[in-house]
Amino acid sequence: MKPNHGFRRKGALLLVPLLSLWAAPGKVAGASGPHGAVDLVSEQTSVQPARPFWVGLRFQLEQGWHIYWTNPGDSGEPPRVKWGLPAGFQAGPLHWPVPRRIEDHSLIDYGYQGEVLLPAEISPPAKLAAGADVQLNATVSWLVCREICVPGRAALALTLPTGNGTPGPASPMHPLFAKARADLPRPAPKSWKVSANLDKYRFVLNVDTGIRETGATFFPLEPNQIENAAPQKASPSSRGVRLEMEKSDQLLKAPPRLTGVLVLPAGQGYVIEAPIVASK
């Protein structure tokens, strides 16, 4: 990705982001970090006892800057969150929309540019004092890079009222969550047949989707399996697609399977697990 040369870099040497907090309707607190902003947003406007609901870390990044996917690729570090929740509340893991391949000095990273929401599910306890506010805290650390990398850290808080059991209107954030859900990889359909061969130099991933696919890109969930920077060679087959990927030099022995996200040309991602047959 070529940087926007007209853009003035702010605080490129700052290691600790300037933390400026603001209050928006719904008492959402966000922070401006290096080269972007991050805030904690909720899909619902109130918390109902025992009803899980979705929150998310929304990153809005300056032009050309990127953050990382759960497997960051050749370098970098994915965002991490430490939750501080009231008693009885639980948080599920962060969910990762389909990433992009991002070029970085002849290496390849997996990540996101522009705006991205990383959703997580919050489960409230069955017993909640009605009328009380609930405060959810999230300490977020991340790395944002363009031609240089800057770590970010923010302590975010989101305060929501407790409801009486009937969910209120969805928050204005709902379209953001709907888009994030659409961008999340789905489990591969049960009708798909997926397998992989591994020889001395490369993986060959065979995906039978039932119809001819014009292309595909694979994002591995495990590091050190494929050579991230090597171009992937997709060949359509009558019932799917065949994808050749160079093996990583750091792969010392054949893994039992290749797991990752297969993205088809329309942009939809599927989580696949391909058992591996090693051949020399």
């Binding site: 370098s75 570090e77 000095h105 290496l107 650390s141 990398c149």
Partner: protein, 203 residues
């Protein structure tokens, strides 16, 4: 000068041949190289046969490199292991104009300020040594045995963060590889995903 050029070209060719004949990975011979340090001296891997060699990819402005330097961690590793006869090369593969690029004078001045004591700093602005080894991030660590075999390739430790507080509780893969090899044992973790900023090769 001409002989040096010929040796350089031969070493590069040998290095390239080694890389294509065997992958650069633990268990395989480490590719030979020729590189110049910040005092104008030339080093080859071959001349250090019989010694352990550590390669440390470096960018002083990368927050992950800074984690290990501002805490003194990298410097103490350099002192500890060079005292035991290990040859420690810090390698800078940042291209001119890219972050981390240093002239010899700048780097020597940095070494003094940081109280760092590698055996030498190899300047690799064309990225040749970096690409030869497949260096991906700063830091990215390689450990080579006295027989010239690569025994470790990957992260400096198991806490892939920029937080200096993580150093005390981290498991250091480089020290482990050196300790195990010196004790005649196989390296228990020979390869890990290196963490850091991407090496700033030419764009």
């Amino acid at each position: 000068m001409k002989r040096r050029i010929v040796r350089f070209v031969l070493a590069s060719v040998v290095g390239l041949m080694a890389a294509t004949a065997w992958a650069v990975q633990p268990g395989n011979p480490a590719p030979d190289f020729t590189a110049q340090d910040t005092h104008g001296q030339t080093h080859t891997l071959a001349q250090y046969k019989g010694k352990y060699v550590v390669l440390e990819w470096h960018n002083r402005e990368c927050p992950y490199t800074q984690k290990h330097y501002s805490s003194g961690n990298m410097q103490s590793l350099q002192r500890e292991w060079t005292a035991k006869g290990v040859v420690w090369f810090t390698v800078i593969s940042s291209a001119p104009g890219q972050q981390g690029y240093m002239t010899a004078d700048q780097e020597n001045s940095f070494l003094e300020k940081a109280n760092a004591s590698p055996t030498a700093v190899l300047l690799d602005p064309a990225g040749q040594l970096g690409h030869l080894y497949g260096a991906k991030s700063t830091p990215h660590m390689f450990v080579i045995s006295p027989e010239g075999v690569l025994v470790y390739d990957g992260a400096i430790d198991d806490k892939p963060t920029t937080d200096t507080n993580d150093i005390a509780t981290a498991h250091n893969y480089v020290s482990a590889a050196l300790q195990e090899s010196m004790a005649g044992k196989p390296v228990s973790t020979p390869a890990t995903r290196p963490y850091g900023c991407g090496v700033k090769y030419a764009r």
